[in-house]
Structure formats: C-alpha cells, structure tokens
C-alpha cells in the first residue's frame, strides 16, 4: 500500500516534471522537423504494420518506386492491386532489404500487382500457413542477368500454399520457388527467362499443373538439397507446357541451379515419388527430362548430413507428349556424348539419367520395382543412363526395364 505521504510526494514529483516539461514543449513544437518522410513507401509500410486480421490493403493503379524492402507480419491480411500490369511496385532504386516484400504471417493473400526489379528476392513468404498468391507478376525488366534477384515468388517453410495465374520473369535463380513446404499448388502460371522456371525443393505434396515454362534454362525442377530440416517427396507435374527452355544459364555459380544445363525441360534431383504426366515438352535442347542425384553435383562432399538420401526414386513418367529436343545439349561434354552416340543430326532421348542408384537398395545393379523409374503410355520414350558412377564409361540407352507403372499420387488437397 502506498501511504498518503508517498502519494503526495509522488504527485508533487509528477507535477514538478510536468512543470519542467511545460516550458519545453513549445520549443519542440516550433523547431521540430520530423526525420520521417511521409511518402508512398512509408504510407504503405505503415499500413502493413498497422493492419488488423481481415484487412484488405488496396494499392491503386500506378508505378511506385520503393527504396526499402516492405514487410508484413500480421495474420489474415490481403494485399490487392489493380492488376499485374497496373499496380507496379518497382524496386529498381532499392537500397536496403533482401526482398521486395517479406511476409511472415499466416492466412495471407496477395493478388493483382507486380513486383519489379527487387535487389534480392521479389516476394518471400517465410514460415506461413494458408497463403494465396494469384495474378502477381515478379519480373526483372532488363531480362536474364546474373545480377538479378534470386527468386521471384518464394514461399519457404509454408503449409497450404496456392500459386495461381502468376507470372515470373528474369529471376537469376528460380522464377517460382517453393522451398521446405507442405501442401502446395502451382497452377495456371507462366515462368519465362528465369534460370529455373518453377522449382519445388525439399517440399512434400506439391501439384504443378497447367503452367507454361518457356525460355528458362530449366523449365520445371524438383530438387532435394542436403542439410535441411526436411527432405521432400510426392510432387505431381502435369498438363504443363514446357518448351524452349534453352536460355543460357545465368545463375551465379555455386548455387544448385547454376549447374542446370541450358535446354533442360524437367529436372528431378534427389527427390522421390515424382509423377510427371500429360505434359507437352518441346524443343528443350539438352533433354526433356533429366534425372540426377546430388552426387552429380559437386555437393557430394563428405560433410553432407549422413541421413540425407541423395537418390531419386519412385519416379513415374507417363502420357507426356514430346516434340524435338535433345538436339543441341549444353556444354561441350554433352555435345560430344550426343555426337558419339547419336550422330551429328541425332538427338538425346526424352529422358537422361546420371545413373547413381543406392547400392544398398539395388537388386542386380538395378532399382527394385518399388523404387524404379516407370515410363508408361509413351512408347517412343527411351532413357539414357550416362553411367555417372563409372565415370561415364558405358552410357546405355534403355527402354524395357522402365516399362512399368506406379500407383498415381493423390491430388494435393489444400485446406485454404
């Protein structure tokens, strides 16, 4: 309990302070000039900070120059523009922030706007649940360039993510990149002039369908990388248009996609249970489908966490349509291999594989049925095993051992 004496004492002190402050206030008001610029960027960032769940933040048509990365951490917010060619957030002059927009919030929707020329990633969504990204364009407007930001649309460690009708252009890594996530749908979208058009990495249960991947270095990639908290599996890639992915690789060396040969349609690296069907693959000059292990990258170092499974297994390729392709592989070495095996005017077959398989699981040097690569419904498809483990000594063209079927993967059910 406060005694009456103390309360009086406290009051006096309080009043005396008020008295002191009393004569200072006018001086402050007269001379103070706020250091904060109240501009579009500040206004928008304030809106993002002060948003309440359920709020819709509308950004009217216009091109807005931003200097700092934006960020949102309030759950349940929708950011809405007036159209992906009307509301443009331009980060050409960005001086700080590793993203154009960073979201660390659940139940997030962003639609109908563009994020251009971010210095790092355009739209990064980290550790969020229930995310909808639709009719969003991320673009580096100068075209392919190593100095472009890494990722266009980049949800990582998310659950329940829908990417619909987006456009991703010019990323120096992946235009649409879903990492370490669960339950993902990427559909009706277009990825072009990225190193990787669409990349699903260390992710469980992803459906990638009705997309167009064109003029990338590699069209659609499904990767598992070591040393992460989860290894992904179960991706379906279907009804996509994957063609002319022949853009020279412009990634900064060192990253995983830096090793993707130009001319790659679909690349499966160290991932399991991938179903690739009813796609249209055309004019991918190295190969339409490439299957590889992390052993084929230079990342096969002894330091890789021992629990990591580097072998791609249980792949199911069926009912795809192919046109051209494999005629002009990237790098001199692949060109030489192609020339040696198929002649000047010949081409690689639809599928090539680096040949690494798990010796502990192999039966007679081959994948057991449950882990096998199955090719069905496309009688013209052959698989070239380049025999990586033996130093590429005996490349083999095979067909019959892959004529099998797996159970189709179930569709991804989004609970959004």
């Amino acid at each position: 309990m406060i005694t009456s004496r103390n309360s009086v004492f406290g009051l006096v002190i309080l009043l005396s302070l008020a008295g002191c402050a009393d004569q200072e206030v006018p001086a402050v008001l007269d001379e103070s000039v706020s250091a904060v610029e109240v501009d579009f960027e500040t206004q928008l960032q304030l809106q993002l900070l002060e948003a309440k769940p359920g709020d819709v933040i509308d950004i009217p048509a216009g091109t807005y120059a931003l200097y700092r990365g934006l960020s949102l951490s309030v759950d349940g917010v929708t950011i809405r523009g007036a159209g992906m060619d009307k509301t443009i957030l331009s980060f050409k002059e960005q001086v700080s922030g590793a993203e154009g927009l960073l979201v660390t919030a659940n139940d997030f929707t962003i639609e109908d706007l563009a994020i251009e020329d971010a210095k790092g990633d355009a739209l990064k969504i980290n550790e969020s649940k229930n995310v909808i990204i639709r009719r969003v364009r991320t673009e580096w407007t100068n075209g392919p360039d190593t100095a472009n930001g890494a990722y266009g649309i980049y949800p990582v460690q998310t659950e329940n993510t829908l990417i619909d009708e987006v456009v991703a252009i010019g990323a120096s890594d992946a235009g649409i990149y879903v990492g370490q996530s669960k339950n993902v749908v990427v559909r009706n979208s277009r990825a072009e002039y990225n190193v990787a058009g669409i990349e699903i990495e260390n992710t469980f249960d992803a459906d990638v369908f009705d997309n167009v991947a064109i003029n990338n270095t590699g069209g659609i990639l499904v990767f598992n990388m070591p040393n992460l908290s989860q290894e992904g599996a179960r991706t379906r890639i279907f009804r996509n248009l994957v063609h002319n992915n022949n853009t020279d690789n412009f990634a900064a060396p060192g990253g995983a996609v830096a090793g993707v040969p130009a001319g790659s349609g679909i690349v499966i690296n160290s991932n399991d249970e991938v179903e690739i069907f009813e796609n249209d693959l055309a004019a991918n000059d190295t190969a339409h489908i490439i299957i590889s292990s992390v052993f084929s990258t230079n990342y096969s170092s002894r330091e890789t966490a021992s629990a990591f499974d580097p072998y791609p297994e249980t792949l199911y390729i069926h009912d795809n349509r192919y046109e051209g392709g494999g005629t002009s592989p990237d790098t001199l070495e692949l060109k030489a291999l192609k020339l040696a095996m198929f002649g000047l005017t010949g081409s690689f077959p639809n599928v090539i594989w680096d040949g690494f398989l798990n010796p502990e699981k192999a039966v007679d040097g081959k994948l057991p049925p449950a882990l096998n690569f199955c090719i069905a419904g496309e009688p013209g498809t052959q698989l070239l095993n380049v025999d990586g483990p033996a130093g590429y000594a005996n490349p083999e063209l095979e067909q019959s051992q892959y004529q099998c079927r797996h159970e189709p993967l179930p569709p991804v059910q989004l609970s959004i």
């Binding site: 002060e50 230079n298 790098t331």
Partner: protein
C-alpha cells in the same frame, strides 16, 4: 522567501512549478509554503518544535526540495516511465533518455551496459540502457540460456555518430565510431554528436514490443517512427580531413532505421512463437570478462540479479570480445558471428531455411558453412560453392556475403549498408587458418577482392554437364 526569490531568478522551470503547484490541491500549496520557509526551519531546535505531523511534512518537503533542486535547476533525477499499453509519440515520455539543457540525460534508474562483442551497425556508436521496475530482478531460462526480464523492463539503444567538424547536423557528415570506445554520457556534446535513432524494447504483459524513435532535426527529442527511416549520410574515419565539404575519403551510405517488422526480423529468435526478445543482454554477451570488470557482477551489484542467478549466468560461459587480439582467433570469430548472425542463423531463427547455424553454441562445422552447399543464396554465392572453404576465404560464400553491399547478396541482410572491414578481416583470417578441404571435383570459383564474382566459363557444380572430362 529569500530562497524562493533566488530560485525564481535562476530558474524558469522553478517558476512554472510554483505556478502549477499553486493551481494544485490545497495540501500542495501548504507544502509550498513550508518549503519557502525552510531556511528558517532547518535548525535542530526548530525541528524539535515540530510535532510528528509537521515532521512528516517537513520530510516530504525536503524530498521535494531535493528533487526540484536536482530536477529543475540542474538536470533532475528522473525515473524511467513504463507504459503498459501506449506507445508514446515522443521518446522523452519514457523518461529514460532525453535532452535537458542541451545535455543527454538518463533516468536515475537507467543503467548503461555494454556487450562483449557488439553487433556491427555501420560504425555507429551505441548507448544502451536497462531500466528495471523497482525491486524487480532478472531471472534465467536454463533451456535457452537467456535472461528473462520482468514486465515493465525498458531497454533503449541510441545510435549516434560524431559529426565531421564544422558540419551541420543536416549534412549528415559523420565520423566512424572508434571500435570499442563508446562515448561516456558526459561526452555527448549535442553540438558535436548526431543522434540518429533510439530503439526502445519494452517488456509488457503480452511480451516485448520494439519501438523505433528517430531523433528530430533539432535533437531535442525523438519521434516514434514505426515505418523506420532512411537517412542518406556520408562517413569518414577519425582524423581524416574534416574541412569544408565532404572529404574525399568519405563514403556515402544510406543509414537505415528499421521499421517495426524489421525490428522483429532480427528480434524474433524463434519463428514458432514469433515472440520478440532482446538479442544482446543475455549471459554470454554480457559477461565481458573477469579482468575488465564483469558486467554481470555489476548487474548483481545494483540488484538486477540474485546471487544464484549470477552464479548460474557466469557458469554459462562468455563470448570473447572479437576485437581482443589476445584471445584465440576462432573464439573471436565465433563471437563475432554469434552476435551478428546468430539471431537469425539458429535452429529456431528465420534463417534456419539455409541450414546454417552461427550461434556460439553451434558445434557442427557444416552448420557454420564448412564445405556446405548453399541452399537459396542466389547471387549471394558470389560464385563460390561452399559456405566456407577451409583455408580459402576467397572461395567462401560467408566472406563474400560479409563483404557485399548489394542488398540481394549481403549478410546480414539488414542493419548495415557498409562493409565492416575489421569484422570481415577477422572472418577471413579465421577461414584462412582453418584446415581441411572440401571434396569438390574442381577448383572452387574464386571471388575477387572487390567482391565481384569472377565467373568461370563453365558451371562447375553439375558434373552431369561436364562429366566426360
């Protein structure tokens, strides 16, 4: 009344107090009169003449007098003001740190503290304070090895630079703070020092809140700025030509005051809880060494830590001062990485997406990046293949990103727009001394000293593409 008149003459504030008090309750008016008559009543005889009631009044009045003579005629001894809900528009309302009579003044209960190894912030000097609720103590979470502060705790960190001599504040021509020598409170001549921002961390019933305040142009107070600010400035070293105009050596840079989300971007140490926590004031950062006078002991001395908590905290070990060349290089490097990177790069932090953990307690070299492939570094690899290539900082992503000022490649992502040359040199030395080699099929790509990657003609990473060598 002599004393009264004297005060009236010497202090405008005193007069305002009088006026205010006269408008106040009757009891205050009576006390005012008591104070005014004090010179006649300070003798022992006079004191004896008073009854107990009067004695109490006199004591109160003396306290008031003390408070006022300390408070208005000179800077007062203030107490930090805790706001349980409101976010005051002006920094001064917290009473922790404010400008009085052109001097930076701290509340009497605000304790200045330092860290063994501070975070690099574009060579800004920092003044850190801790204000605990009266009588409250700090406890320790044994699992996280972090301090748990009581509700009502207020921490502030004020970022400042010395101004280039002869320059106006509005020019933002700033001088690098000497490493390790932060200004004492008495050194803050506001005519020479530019205060940029003060960040307030307050522990409320619902957890910590981070509030960025940007100092007003007149430097009398700072204004709450949730959206942060960008301040274009130039920086030069101590002793460089500080004459008229920007010196040739001065580096232009954009000083970033983080917005509230960006505060959380570093201060959310666990992505699962998304709770904001202080980064620095925890045992291993505060234990600044036995020789130099231990920070933790100082905290115990003013009552913030019980003896038990002090013992426990000391037992958790201490980060070394990375600037202390007498300490082993690897300890200095790990300490530097811990405070600059560990808040994100931990198994619970936002940068767990990278698989790199740079906290002081992270023991597995691959988690520091040794021979570890990047995950989503993009152009941040600088062309290198591994986080750290032992013996070869030029081929290590870690040193590349510390040396970059490209927002898309630099690390940390926020909090600096300049390269910390001394910190970079430390990390490069650490990598240089590291033994071992990575099992790469080809020579690692080398990035050059000007931080631009020297690209190889062919991509080195994918042997499928070059397997017929």
């Amino acid at each position: 009344m002599n004393l009264m008149r004297q005060f009236k003459h010497t202090s405008y504030r005193w007069r305002s107090w009088i006026q205010l008090s006269e408008r106040g309750p009757h009891v205050l008016y009576r006390m005012m009169r008591s104070i005014a008559e004090l010179p006649n009543r300070t003798s022992k005889a006079a004191a004896r003449a008073y009854g107990s009631n009067q004695l109490m009044s006199r004591t109160t009045a003396l306290c008031v007098l003390l408070a006022l003579s300390a408070g208005c005629a000179e800077p007062p001894t203030l107490s930090s003001q805790y706001f349980a809900f409101d976010n005051p528009e002006k920094l001064s309302r917290w009473s922790v740190i404010q400008v009085r009579d052109q001097a930076l003044t701290l509340a009497g209960d605000a304790k200045v503290y330092q860290l063994a190894s501070p975070l690099f912030s574009d060579y800004a000097g920092k003044l850190r304070t801790l204000s605990l609720p009266k009588g409250a103590q700090v406890s320790l979470d044994a699992d996280t090895e972090r301090f748990v502060y009581p509700i009502g705790t207020i921490m502030t960190k004020t970022f400042y630079y010395r101004r280039a001599s002869g320059s106006q504040r509005s020019e933002f021509r700033l001088v690098k703070a000497n490493q390790g020598s932060e200004l004492g409170l008495n050194d803050f001549s506001l005519a020479e020092v530019t205060l940029l921002e003060t960040r307030v961390l307050v522990k409320r019933a619902g957890g910590w809140t981070a509030l960025p305040y940007v100092w007003d142009a007149d430097q009398q107070d700072a204004t709450l700025s949730p959206a942060g600010a960008l301040i274009r400035a130039s920086l030069q070293s101590e002793g460089e030509s500080e004459g008229e105009g920007p010196s040739e050596e001065a580096q232009a840079f954009a000083y970033l005051v983080p917005n509230q989300n960006q505060c959380a971007g570093c201060h959310v140490l666990d992505q699962a809880t998304k709770a904001i926590l202080p980064i620095g004031p925890h045992p291993r950062h505060l234990a600044t060494g036995v020789e130099a006078g231990d920070q933790l002991a100082a905290w115990a001395a003013f009552g913030a830590l019980s003896d038990g908590v002090l013992q426990e905290a000391v037992g958790l070990g201490a980060n070394v001062d990375w600037r202390d060349a007498k300490r082993p290089l690897y300890l200095r490097a790990r300490s530097y990485l811990d405070i600059n990177c560990g808040h994100c790069h931990s198994p619970t932090g936002p940068a767990d997406t990278s698989g790199m953990f740079l906290t002081a307690t992270s023991q597995d070299p691959i988690r520091w990046g040794v021979c570890k492939a990047p995950i989503a570094a993009g152009q941040g690899t600088g062309g290198a293949q591994f986080g750290i290539v032992p013996g070869n900082p030029d081929a290590s992503i870690l040193s590349y990103r510390l040396g970059s000022v490209d927002p898309g490649a630099m690390m940390p992502e926020l909090g600096r727009s300049l390269v910390h040359s001394e910190g970079l040199a430390l990390i490069r030395s650490w990598i240089t001394e590291m033994s071992g080699q990575c099992n790469a099929a080809q020579q690692p790509v080398v990035h050059s000293d000007d931080h631009n990657p020297r690209l190889l003609d062919q991509n080195p990473a994918f042997t499928l593409a070059s397997g017929l060598d």
